[in-house]
């Protein structure tokens, strides 16, 4: 049977000191690219422990250490990987940036929101921004209560959680910048690098399928998708 297992190589186990060395050797032997290795790491760090563990498994923990604002390594990594996919698909010269929204005063919200800006003038990378508006806070809480919170199925065995992706424009330096808002529960498993790869893949597909309104309307009406 032909399976994609690397051929044995002399000396492949030489010089191993710890498990990190073993991982590095495996990554090299299989020729995994960084995105593929990310999937492997997330599988072992979050997916499997979440499957076997309970409510306090690693992926179900809040994204911020000790539940306090100001420590956003998970969301920063999420945004960086999201941006990497869009640049890989559409060009490294693309001005894609991201904003992580943090609560100002008051309790932390049960959800997190990031914005990914397409073609934002003079902006690169990931930055954090405080959302002090009580109205925005209330809208997000309402969104969470109505749409995002986990619901159990009739059988009680399966629960599902919705996530939201919204397309809108925001003003940056006086220009309307196409922006994608991603809103999901405040749990690490929704904000892993693997999730960023998948979410960005979906956005990339959306961009490729964007057509002018007349073309889209005809096509979808034909398929009975008129709403």
């Amino acid at each position: 049977m032909s399976v994609p297992i690397p051929e044995p190589r002399p000396g492949i186990l030489d010089g191993l000191k710890d498990w990190d060395d073993v991982d590095a050797r495996v990554k090299d032997a299989f020729g995994f690219k960084d995105a593929e290795w990310t999937l492997v790491e997330d599988l072992f760090n979050y997916t499997l422990p979440d499957f076997k563990g309970g409510a306090d498994s690693p992926g179900r923990k809040p994204t911020r250490h000790n539940g306090s604002a100001g420590d956003d390594k998970h969301l920063k990594a999420y945004c960086e990987y999201f941006i990497r996919v869009l640049r890989a698909g559409f060009g490294q010269d693309k001005n894609v940036s991201a904003t992580i929204f943090e609560e100002g005063k008051g309790e932390l919200l049960p959800l997190r929101m990031v914005a990914v800006h397409l073609d934002s003038p003079g902006r690169q990378g990931v930055k954090c921004e405080r959302m002090d508006s009580p109205a925005l806070r209330e809208r997000l809480l309402s969104l969470h209560r109505k749409f995002l919170a986990s619901r159990e199925s009739a059988s009680g065995f399966v629960s599902y959680t919705r996530v939201a992706r919204l397309y809108d424009s925001v003003k940056i330096k006086g220009r309307d910048v196409p922006t994608i808002f991603v809103i999901k529960p405040d749990q690490i498993r929704y904000w892993t690098r693997s999730m960023a790869l998948r979410d960005a893949d979906e956005v990339a597909t959306d961009i490729m399928m964007w057509r002018d309104v007349g073309e889209r309307r005809g096509s979808l009406e034909k398929e009975g998708l008129h709403v």
């Binding site: 424009s169 597909t205 964007w210 034909k222 008129h226 709403v227």
Partner: protein, 231 residues
Amino acid sequence: MSRGQTIAELRWLDTPDFMAVARAWQADASTILLQFVWRGYDLLCGEVLSRIEVNDAEEDLERGITQLLEPRIRRAMTGDEPFDIQHGSYEEESRQPPPAQPPQYDLAYVWNQNERLKWPLEAKVLLKDTLVREYVKAMNERFLTCMYAPFSSEGAMLAYLFSGSPQKVFSNVSKALLCCLAQHPGFPGRPHKTSDHVRTVPHAKKYAAAFRCHHMVLQISALAEPNSQLM
């Protein structure tokens, strides 16, 4: 009577800023896709074609070369891309009723999160630069009828050239297709031209009629040396 909004209209805004980005980025995406083809071809030259007497090969040339090219195109990719390359992928959208097989692409980029969205590449062996009949036939019967690339407004023809000059291939293809071929500005040192067409869209389908075809001549013998001047 006013019309309601479709799902697509609700999901994808068509404000000028969104449309401008989508149009520009779609065009840039095709350059990235084809950059990987050229890099894969360079690897193929260095690892395979330069080490054998290619003209001794007689059987299954088209499939054989394409099979060798596909993994090298994938190796040229970073792994972050929102698409993958596939050899022998089927186009379900334009399939005929059973028992007919759906059209099958020599190569196609397939988007990870919507596998119906494909960007096809059709390969043809040209033993001489004058023998372009099959190449032109594939263009006319597959791409320009929307049998290929129904959801994409671009696609590519790969000419595996065994003997002769790329410029003569372009000239012969241009004459046979009755259209002009322009050098792709993103690949100035490569035999890579484009032509623009209006496709025949099947009744009741709303595919994009405007279609751009990329013509890429991959020299298989004699001049099969890696072209390192680009990218």
